[in-house]
Assembly symmetry: C2
Homo-oligomer: 161 residues x 2
């Protein structure tokens, strides 16, 4: 399924959360398998990502419908999307029911990335070009240009402008 | 402070998390006040956002250093950044120590936005132009063009390409 809400939530151990409604098919799957993968779609796959956020795996085979390729994770008991440029393979650590959504926190036990998505062996957002979701306009957006190095402004920037 | 890790984690009640190291000054402040705000920097404020992610409030007054304006939240016991286009005001609901980072989950009790950041009364990512952080390249990135409406591909997209 496509999840609107997810992100990194701890650096050590590396951890990522996804928040899912209890009504979703994936919610039950994650509870049973105590595992999940996060497959990050590039902007070229917005149609597939959108469709798999609308249809339910209870009613249809979404891999079949989209011609995306399910690949069995070598690290955890869950599939990932072969065509997506970056995949995080996670062992479920915590589940917190916050309201409509349950927040699943998983430890990232392995990362798979396309060779072309890397720079110096690290995932490069300019190459992955992840799909951004704008909840305010209910739209998808791309990543724009790189602006600057982080951790570079070590003196007060008041007078820099 | 600037946090690398944060995001929406529940739609109802609307909730947002931030993950902070226990060593940070803000970690203690949030625990004491049971409240925080999330001020979203636009890309034009990358220098301020970068500096406030490096310096500590224990050592210096970062509002003074950056000439950013602290504004007292009308909804919770915490300040926000007057110049940033979007602000979420949060009451702390849960704190989960995951490892190096503690994940703070807060209910969003009010939202402040610049008039110019809205379209039809809703925050517009193309107007906010939030600063994106790429952890792989340790760099800041902008938001690119809008790609498509979400929730629009209701039939299997296999043959659409």
């Amino acid at each position: 399924m496509t999840a609107a809400w997810g992100g990194i939530c701890c650096s050590r151990p590396p951890s990522v959360y996804v928040s899912l409604r209890e009504a979703t098919y994936s919610h039950g799957n994650i509870m049973r398998r105590r595992a999940y993968t996060v497959s990050v779609p590039g902007e070229g796959h917005w149609r597939e990502a959108d469709y798999t956020g609308i249809a339910s795996g209870r009613d249809t085979d979404k891999f079949e419908d989209t011609a995306l390729t399910p690949i069995r994770s070598s690290a955890v008991d869950a599939p990932y999307v072969g065509e997506y440029p970056l995949v995080l393979e996670c062992r479920l650590k915590e589940a917190h029911k916050l309201g409509l959504h349950t927040m699943f926190v998983g430890e990232i036990v392995d990362v798979k990335a396309e060779e072309e998505a890397l720079t110096n062996g690290r995932p490069d957002i300019q190459k992955i070009r992840p799909l951004l979701f704008g909840s305010g306009d209910r739209g998808y957006h791309g990543v724009g240009p790189r602006i600057a190095d982080a951790f570079s402004v070590k003196t007060p920037p008041k007078t820099v402008r």
